[in-house]
């Protein structure tokens, strides 16, 4: 089903939504962040931005999250965080929608991760299909966009003075049913034009990451240790690639206690924070043995996780949606496309040869 939302009605539509609204805004120096309930006039339109610095999946899986508060005084008392409010993410890009769907699968696979799953259930994604990919974008290489065929609740395609609205889920359908007054039926030709736009957008990407070849090279172990060593030399173990990657899910759990515990009462909280497989302490085992004590093995492992057949089989996709954020954060030009294309060529490449 396709509908049309005239742009002059967008503000009213956004204001009619229940719960919290997260939408992209531009900050003073030019960065784009997802803000909660920003003034409607500040919300960025499709042509105004490429994507946010950090993926909006961080709204559901934040860098630090209090899991519960505790009080130990005789019988331990546990206070769970408040139930999440309904959240609508407007302006999320296709790659991040693909990432969100992966995270939902991951966090409810064997062990149900309650904090994430509860939030995800109450979250609705209104994505805006990309027509102006950024210089770091390569989503067509990883089934992450630029237009979505599935995964979105609603997808908006910018047609100048109106959006073509595509409904991708029941959640999206419900949202529209309750607000029929904002929409009108889309003329049939728009569908055809939409497909043409999607085709044209594909021509606008500046870089590519040949994931399939990368996967083959990895799985056939065609890559020499020397090449891994050279690439790992440029990794400074900052953790940035994992922190900005919308598909990375690792976290560490820490307990904090308050110092003001009088009469032996201990108060505190347990929180989780993002962790990264490039950190030496990440893989340290309790007995003091570290299966990946050196940078090279950790670096190699990261790409094996994201690209080898084994993990694809388990996770159902390559561990990348092509958002290009790792390119921005990497200190040593050993981001996903740089590594994949190095694997493909089996030799080191210059940055411009992505």
């Amino acid at each position: 089903m396709a509908l049309l939302l005239r742009k002059e009605r967008l503000d009213d539509f956004l204001q009619s939504l229940d719960g919290q609204l997260a939408a992209p805004v531009r900050l003073e120096h030019g960065e784009v962040h997802f803000a909660i309930n920003p003034p409607v006039e500040q919300i960025l339109q499709d042509s105004d931005y490429v994507n946010s610095t950090i993926s909006p999946v961080a709204l559901l899986f934040p860098q630090t999250e209090v899991l519960f508060k505790f009080k130990l005084n005789g019988k331990p008392q546990i206070e769970l965080p408040k139930e999440p409010k309904p959240l609508i993410i407007f302006g999320i890009r296709s790659c991040d929608v693909a990432a969100m769907r992966y995270l939902e699968m991951f966090f409810s696979r064997k062990f149900i991760d309650t904090p994430f799953v509860e939030r995800a259930e109450k979250t609705t994604l209104i994505s805006v299909a990309c027509q102006r990919p950024g210089r770091n974008c390569f989503c067509p290489c990883c089934a992450g966009g630029p237009f979505l065929e599935e995964g979105h609740d609603l997808q908006l395609v910018d047609f100048g003075d109106a959006f073509l609205v595509e409904v991708g889920s029941e959640k999206g359908m419900r949202l529209i049913y309750a607000r029929g007054q904002f929409f009108e039926p889309a003329p049939y030709e728009l569908n055809e034009q939409r497909n043409k736009l999607a085709e044209e957008t594909l021509q606008k990407f500046e870089i590519a990451s040949h994931m399939g070849t990368g996967v083959r090279k990895l799985t056939s172990r065609a890559v020499s240790d020397e090449l891994w060593r050279m690439m790992a030399a440029r990794c400074i173990e900052c953790g940035g690639c994992a922190f900005v990657c919308p598909l990375c899910t690792c976290f560490d759990v820490v307990d904090h206690s308050l110092p003001c515990s009088s009469n032996g009462v201990i108060c505190g909280w347990r929180e989780r924070c993002w962790d990264c497989c490039q950190f030496a302490g990440y893989s340290m085992e309790a007995a003091g043995v570290n299966p990946r004590p050196d940078k090279v093995s950790r670096f190699k492992r990261r790409f094996y996780h994201k690209l080898s057949y084994f993990y694809m089989e388990m996770d159902g996709r390559v561990g990348c949606v092509g958002c290009g954020r790792c390119i921005q954060v990497c200190f040593g030009v050993v981001d996903m496309p740089a590594v994949v294309n190095t694997l493909r060529e089996e030799k080191l490449l210059g940055a411009r040869l992505r």
Binding site: E31, T53, T64, I236, P259, V329
Partner: protein, 643 residues
């Protein structure tokens, strides 16, 4: 969810970032991709800079020793007791040790408090002396040389001359530019004893023997300009530095092929690639290269702590007033007097940190104010520090965390940490950066400028500002060169501090140069054991130890360990990460042997943080009188596997 723009408070890069907060306080950071310093990148420290704000292991209230016992006291009570105490000592018996992690506003108040309220020039911060050769170099260089140059300038150079810069994660934002430059086809001339991760990407990597960097640079200058005296023959140079004449000539050719050259060096390197002498020799080399047709040179001295550059410029130094003006400079002194409302300033050069510690031992210095914890890492000898501090008759610490400094102190004032403090920093590029208050202060924590103003007021000298901006305004009135600096304009040259030094240093190049004296290895002791800074300088900042993730990473390296490369390690029968016995002519100790390919064959490296534990085996360190820095011993050693 709220995001606020601020600057990372760990190293001298000064990366721009946003903190993310919710009902539970600051819960994360987002790098600023519009910032010219970090362009969206953050290192492991930057990503976790918010975590100390979530750690409750802090000092919340003022503590005082009353009738021999230590207890929490009322803020005003502590102030009046401190004021009373300080009045008992003549100015020249009082010293102040500041911190390179203080904001400019705090540093300015430290300098002002010391001079205008106490009347002493015994004002310094640990690590200040390492920057002095660099200041000297600033004086020596003429037109066509940018110093410090910016990170972006590194990308514009056609050749990067990197001297003693160690591992890429020490100064991440400089490393990012170096890697990007070489990946895009630029050239890297690496002069570093370490075979660091830069080495495979260098057009030429020269690995001089330890302590021979200065001679190597002199020899290079000698090749380019025959009038420069090199007191050794070619063969001697090769044997002293371990670098062949062919390699030297290749390096000289590479330097000459450059039109735009950027030189980068680490002001905190202990491997003595960047000793004062080495810095002079670099200045000489740059001068020669300018004469030989290199059109532009940029020099980026990399500094370890977030505001070393600022503390120095604010006058936290025994010989400097704000604006890098000498304490003997009458014009500035008069201006300061009228601005600060006093009659005169102390004119004699004061004592630096090293001299202050000796003076306490001799009983010449009796009262000491210590800000922050930098001293803990700059004087790694805990026993000595404890002994010295126990002799201080009035010790006042302004600190956020319990340590041996606060243990020894008679009065402790809680200090606002990164995220609670507000003001500005000066990063290694000389860029003024804004630091925002992004979290509520815990307990009665205040910034050091506030504590010092309170103490002054309690002493009967009115010193008060409504906010840190007012402090900055006063500084701008005192130092006209800083008046046009606008730290908010992040991508504009309006936030860059560039001063020309016209006085203060004589600018004499040291002509004499000697071969380093190193102990000779033998069959019994086949290794040369050296002390070096290593990995991230986390131990240089107590803030890092209060981040859960950084603490986890740090803890991995908690037992004393000694680095050798794997080939050497295997030949000695060692195993990576396993116990070993370290033997030297002075004794033996149990350590962990860790393989690190950056260590040249024949050398073993003891990280600086473990030096104090192994002093009995390694030898005594010395204070270099000229620079006031610690010089660690070099000794021969053997290692064997233990079970």
């Amino acid at each position: 969810m709220v995001s606020m723009r601020t600057t990372c408070g760990f190293c001298g890069c000064g990366c721009g970032l946003y903190t993310v907060s919710d009902d539970n306080g600051v819960i994360g950071v987002i790098p600023s991709d519009a910032d010219p310093v970090n362009e969206g990148r953050l290192c492991i420290r930057g990503w976790h800079v918010y975590q100390p704000l979530r750690n409750m292991d802090r000092i919340f209230r003022p503590v005082a020793v009353l009738n021999g016992s230590k207890r929490d006291v009322d803020y005003t009570d502590a102030l009046s007791r401190v004021a009373e105490g300080l009045k008992k000592f003549p100015p020249n018996q009082i010293g102040i040790i500041g911190s390179a992690t203080s904001t400019n506003e705090d540093a300015y108040l430290i300098a002002k408090f010391g001079r205008a309220v106490i009347g002493t020039n015994h004002i310094d911060f640990p690590g200040r002396s390492r920057l002095m050769p660099t200041l000297m170099m600033l004086r020596l260089l003429g037109e066509g040389v940018s110093m410090p140059c910016t990170f972006a300038d590194l990308m514009d150079a056609d050749l990067l001359l990197c001297i003693g810069i160690g591992d890429p994660n020490r100064y991440p934002q400089a490393s990012a530019r170096i890697f990007k430059a070489v990946v895009e086809g630029g050239h890297l001339l690496l002069i570093d004893t370490w075979h660091s991760d830069f080495a495979p990407y260098a057009s030429l990597h020269i690995s001089p023997k330890p302590f021979s960097g200065a001679l190597l640079l002199r020899a290079l200058a000698g090749i380019l300009d025959s009038t420069i005296k090199v007191p050794f023959a070619d063969e001697q140079i090769s044997s002293i530095t371990g670098v062949s004449s062919e390699q030297l000539r290749a390096a000289a050719d590479l330097l000459l092929s450059s039109k735009r050259l950027a030189a980068v060096y680490d002001t905190a390197s202990l491997m003595h690639m960047c000793s004062p002498q080495c810095v002079y020799e670099l200045a000489r080399l740059i001068k020669v290269l300018r004469e030989r047709g290199v059109e532009w040179c940029g020099i980026l001295p990399m500094v370890e702590r977030c505001n070393s550059n600022g503390a120095l410029r604010m006058g936290v130094a025994p010989m400097l007033l704000p604006g890098l003006k000498s304490v003997t400079d009458n014009e500035t002194a008069q201006k300061a007097c009228s601005l600060w409302g006093i009659d005169s300033l102390p004119q004699d050069v004061g004592m630096g940190v090293a001299q202050m510690l000796s003076a306490i031992e001799n009983g010449e210095l009796k009262a000491l104010i210590i800000v922050g914890d930098d001293l803990l890492t700059d004087v790694p000898d805990e026993q000595r520090l404890k002994k010295v501090l126990s002799k201080v008759e009035l010790l006042i610490a302004i600190s956020a965390y319990r340590s041996l400094l606060t243990e020894a102190a008679h009065f402790v004032f809680p200090r606002a940490i990164w995220g609670e403090a507000m003001g500005t920093f000066v990063n290694m590029e000389g860029r003024m950066r804004c630091l925002e208050k992004v979290a509520e202060r815990l307990g009665e924590a205040r910034q050091e400028w506030q504590v010092l103003c309170d103490i002054a007021t309690a002493m009967g000298i009115k010193l008060s500002y409504s906010c840190s901006d007012e402090v900055l305004d006063e500084l701008k009135r005192l130092v006209p060169e800083y008046a046009s600096i606008e730290p908010d304009k992040i991508s504009n040259s309006a936030c860059l501090i560039r001063e020309r030094l016209s006085h203060l240093f004589d600018g004499v190049m040291h002509e004499e140069i000697a071969a380093p004296e190193l102990p000779l290895v033998s069959d019994e002791f086949p290794l040369l054991l050296l002390v070096e800074r290593y990995y991230l300088p986390w131990h240089a900042d107590t803030l890092a130890l209060h981040s859960s993730t950084l603490w986890r990473e740090f803890r991995l390296r908690f037992t004393p360990h000694v680095f050798v490369n794997s080939v050497q390690g295997h030949s000695l029968g060692l195993r990576d990460g396993m116990p070993a016995l370290l033997k030297t002519p002075q004794g033996s100790a149990r350590v962990t042997s860790v393989f690190n390919e950056a260590v040249p064959t024949g050398i073993a490296i003891l990280p600086e943080m473990f030096f104090a534990q192994l002093r009995g085996v390694v030898g005594q360190e010395k204070f270099d009188e000229l620079t006031g820095t610690i010089v660690y011993p070099a000794t021969v050693a053997a290692m064997e596997r233990t079970r």
